[in-house]
């Protein structure tokens, strides 16, 4: 009875795995779902067919939101400048430090969403091309591993990033609402605005205060959505381009068949491909494959497909670079400033049991790390392609194919990556550089503070 049960269980697991290996465009569209939600708040209509009327009203909505954010930016900057003028000692300047991160985010938000409007056709083209490359139907075991892992990671990152950003905004804004609720119940606590604005009247008057709090909450959600739209699209594109590179590597590994012997023993990867091919095809086809002319024709055709796909992926990477490089540069500068100042505030101003600056510091560190990690993934997948070009059975083909493969290896050895507007490549090594620079500015600040 036990044996039958175990046997049945393993059979269902095996059935499930072959079921899982069938992919369709729905999987691709699923990853886009959360991004579309964010874009709806922002008012940008990517990949959606609207009537001209709807398009007009949506763009009005978008520009209205942008104007709001600009207004918030000017008001905050004015308030900060006023504060700096009035600051007599270093302690007063600490309120300045509280505002700098918030001010930094506003132009970043505008920049990111502006890029989407400016390059709309490029975005749509990227999404459509990636969609057309998505594998449909049954895939092999190797491909399934690659695709499922990438999809899982992408889902976790998109959802996690989305919810973390919301949590951050809520944690900034909720204390003010708590004070409002306390005031309703009779306690007379002075109101605290989430963000400091310069306004020509007293913001702490009873009705005006509530209105301003609501407006500031809406602004915070807007800013967060703008930034989210930029970052989530970046993760989406890089993740899919990386998956396509990996699928291409798998294809390259497989397309030349080399027979096993003493020089290519059974446990080597190429020999395993040969064994799989032998299992799947009849002996007659094996004999056919010995025919050199036939082999050459097949190899040429497959190599042509591979080269065309490689060129497409390189072009898509260049597009991603064009769209994202400047906003990523501003994002990195912003992050290093924030890390420096929050670190300073954590160490010097805050007590060890308070969490506001610590959470700011950790979220900025995580956000920069995530961007660098995705950049590193892209770099790695390009390198894996160059490795797999070498590890295919190139020595077993004709001179013509060998020369083609040689040129491909040459090109694939050059890094395929996103840069920050030409300054640095986005990878984990640049992340350490950012941390080091922030750390040195932080120590400098601490030294000046001690004096």
């Amino acid at each position: 009875f036990i044996r039958k049960y175990i046997f049945r269980k393993t059979k269902t697991v095996a059935d499930e795995s072959t079921e899982d290996r069938i992919y369709s465009l729905d999987d691709f569209d699923d990853t886009l779902a959360i991004i579309k939600k964010v874009l709806w708040i922002v008012g940008l209509r990517l990949t959606l067919k609207d009537s001209d009327n709807a398009r007009f009203w949506f763009s009005v909505f978008y520009w209205f939101e942008t104007a709001n954010i600009l207004m918030a930016f000017t008001l905050q900057t004015m308030e900060t400048i006023e504060d700096t003028k009035g600051a007599s000692s270093f302690e007063d300047a600490t309120t300045l430090f509280r505002m700098i991160p918030c001010i930094g985010f506003l132009p970043l938000a505008i920049l990111k969403s502006y890029k989407i409007t400016y390059y709309e056709s490029m975005y749509e083209n990227l999404i459509n091309e990636l969609r057309s490359m998505w594998p449909q139907g049954k895939v092999t075991e190797e491909e399934h591993t690659v695709i499922s892992k990438a999809l899982k990671q992408l889902r976790i990152v998109l959802k996690g990033y989305y919810w973390c950003n919301y949590a951050l905004v809520i944690s900034c804004v909720v204390p003010c609402y708590i004070i409002i609720i306390k005031n309703i119940f009779g306690k007379n606590e002075p109101g605290v605005l989430p963000f400091l604005w310069w306004v020509p009247f007293d913001p702490l008057q009873p009705i005006v205060f509530e209105i301003i709090v609501v407006i500031q909450t809406w602004h915070a959600i807007l800013v967060m959505s703008f930034i989210l739209s930029g970052d989530l699209l970046y993760f989406f594109f890089i993740s899919h381009i990386t998956t396509q590179f990996d699928l291409l590597s798998i294809k390259v590994n497989r397309f030349i068949l080399v027979p096993t012997d003493q020089q290519l023993i059974d446990i080597y990867p190429l020999a395993i491909h040969y064994k799989n091919f032998k299992n799947k095809h009849s002996p007659l086809e094996l004999v056919e494959m010995q025919n050199k002319k036939l082999c050459e024709a097949i190899h040429e055709k497959e190599l042509l497909d591979i080269i065309v796909r490689h060129r497409t992926l390189i072009r898509l990477c260049k597009d991603v670079e064009t769209i994202f490089s400047f906003s990523l540069l501003v994002s990195f500068l912003n992050s290093s400033v924030i890390i420096c100042f929050s670190n300073f505030c954590c160490v010097v101003i805050e007590k060890w049991y308070e969490f506001m600056y610590k959470s700011f510091l950790s979220t900025t560190l995580c956000q920069t790390w995530l961007i660098c990690w995705y950049g590193q993934k892209l770099l790695d997948s390009g390198e894996r392609l160059s490795q797999s070009l070498y590890s295919c059975g190139w020595y077993w083909t004709s001179q013509k194919i060998k020369k083609n493969i040689h040129i491909m290896i040459h090109r694939s050895q050059r890094d395929v990556c996103v840069t920050t507007y030409g300054f640095t490549k986005i990878c984990l090594a640049s992340y350490t550089a950012i941390i080091k620079t922030s750390w040195s500015y932080f120590t400098l600040l601490v030294q000046t503070y001690k004096q």
Binding site: Q263, I267, Y268, W396, H406
Partner: protein, 474 residues
Amino acid sequence: MMTKVKTQGLVTDLMPNIKLMQAAGHFLFNYHSDNSGMSMLLRKVYSSVHAVLIVVNYVCMAINMAQYSDEVNELTANTITVLFFAHSVIKLLFFALNSKSFYRTLAIWNQSNSHPLFTESDARYHQLALTKMRRLLYCICGVTVLSVASWVTLTFFGESVRFIANKETNETMTEPAPRLPLKAWYPFNTMSGTMYIAAFALQIYWLLFSMAIANLLDVMFCSWLIFACEQLQHLKAIMKPLMELSASLDTYRPNTAELFRASSTEKSEKVPDPVDLDIRGIYSTQQDFGITLRGAGGKLQTFGQPTPNNPNGLTQKQEMLARSAIKYWVERHKHVVRLVASIGDTYGTALLFHMLISTITLTLLAYQATKIDGVNVYAFSTLGYLTYTLGQVFHFCIFGNRLIEESSSVMEAAYSCQWYDGSEEAKTFVQIVCQQCQKAMSISGAKFFTVSLDLFASVLGAVVTYFMVLVQLK
């Protein structure tokens, strides 16, 4: 009766290292001949006991550090010691969590391909690798024992005190502390008597085993790198005869049979005298068809009719040998690349942690070094810590650097053989190999940095800069 455990490949080569690691208490449970439940249980108990003792004593040291954290000098000294031994705890944990990865790397070279003409060279470089690995193991074991001995000896010199900050007057006073190698909090009084001797013995054991744990794992990593480097040397050495073989496929070359003769001296793998190349027709290649294959057993059929499209009149079998030589070379190179990739995956994170902790330790040591005021116990202990930490970093940096150099010098070897005489096939082979070897194989610490002498130079430079700056500030 314990039968000899049947091992192959890297495991056989690294057996002394593996046995030492098992003795030191690493969670290494494979590669025993006797795998019965009882002995496995005993081994697991042994490792767990060691792990518990090491972690408990480490925690005692940390408690001591927290207790006496008021005075700056005392705090710095204790922090350095705690960080110093953090390596052992981390490496012990790292191996326990990652042992599958280690087993996989050790099993990568269980089987490797072979070619009748190159078995000689293969065996020779394998032997070289083995000698180097053994020598490294003995050296590091010696250094470990020497360090423990000198640590214990140094305990008996100087005052056995600790620094306390007097809260009222804000100056430092000294208070007598037990004369033990390490400052740690024990629940019993260790000032004198049997408890003192027990604590001393425990600390000697602890010093030896924790240093051994950290160093043996590093030795295993470096041994893997030595092996990979010697394999690359082998590939470089057979490049020349391979070119000759390939050239013999479609250009007339005298003395081709020399190439097919696999002998033990290196001389016969050299290119025949270039003067001979101009003298055609004098040499009768008909006679030179003897092939002796070591390892493949027996002579081949050498007297078949020479194939018409082959200018040197090689038989079918000899032609196959020449073609398969390239296949052997490329597949062996790919195997080495897989080995290096596996090494990087397995040990990269451990290297990252090591470098992080070493950076902080070296920063603090630079600060301590500015307070040296004469030849005393303090000076010796600070310099000892410095040399040991820098030595650990140097140890894996130099082998990482050697790997980078070896893998990029394959291109040199390919270029310096007579590729211009070779067949078209050989030339394309050289082209692709040169292209691939331009990007050197390297080990990275989880993608954050590359292990090379550049890393060591930057670490050393940073320490010296810090030291100079601090001396200026005093």
